[in-house]
Symmetry: C2
Subunit: 191 residues, 2 copies
Amino acid sequence: MDRSLDDVVLSTTLDLLADLTPDRVTLDEVASRTGRAKTTLYRRWATKTDLILAAVRSLGSPPEVERLPDRGSLRADLLAVVDSAWLGGPTRRLVLFAGLGAAARSVPGLREVVDAAVTEPYVDIYRRLLLRAIERGEVPERVASSVDVLAAVIPAMSSHRLESGGVTPGRDYYVAVVDDVVLAAVRGAAG
Amino acid sequence: MDRSLDDVVLSTTLDLLADLTPDRVTLDEVASRTGRAKTTLYRRWATKTDLILAAVRSLGSPPEVERLPDRGSLRADLLAVVDSAWLGGPTRRLVLFAGLGAAARSVPGLREVVDAAVTEPYVDIYRRLLLRAIERGEVPERVASSVDVLAAVIPAMSSHRLESGGVTPGRDYYVAVVDDVVLAAVRGAAG
């Protein structure tokens, strides 16, 4: 297996997913951009779908799964995840996620791969941050019963905006979701 | 145009979307279930995608867009939307939405049609319910600045769960989103 072929081709595929409409992400275009022979690519990835799924699997998962941020407050921790340097930082990452959202409309199996690699790990990260804030006494114990639903808010609102096909949301959108939804709901949690 | 053909075929297509994996929703299956000749169906809808998009367009939009519920409290209004009789009531409607979510993974253009017919009208309904609760003094004026983001919470959390591919959420899930996220965030809204 030629590892460098994989690295170059998969990162080029991700660049195309971030920059273009999915219809234009083709094996021909990737071959042309990487200077590789189409036949070389076709031997390794039989279809455009195989190539795109391999590219998304190459992303790995958010690094916060392994190293939970610890900035001293729930708000700082949540924003540390939003501002993570993963995949080139927030701006680049959101553009890529928007491209993946668009591609998921037409590439079979892509949503499942994105959910498993990205969405589910993020829900897990937010769940653990909420539970830790309860443990250290920053958040009232009574919020424990709504942690599962609150942990899904940021990923759900992110997908909602990224898949609406409009302008890719910026950091402001995530700050509003953190402050006006998640932290407001934590403050207003019924007894 | 044979209206009754459309009615029978499109409602059968919706039943199949609700009951089956999208791969099994085929013109052959619809022809077989409706007792119509395949050639008749093919003349009207050239492809499975055309048929599915037509079926979803035949749903119309949530009736609450035209008649906003008015039950006297924001919570009762939000739950009236959740409990709406539209499309056969909550259980049938959620099963259908789950089927549409699954089908949107492989049917080109379906997500855009579902967003326009279902998701966007729901965001508009929740936005108007929140604004009306502010107007009648039930909800503090300072929540006005977060109405746009709060209005998207229920549709976003609904899509998140319906598209995760697991068990179709029941009424309990929506009650938790209403109580533990939307109403909690309204109570906890910062000044």
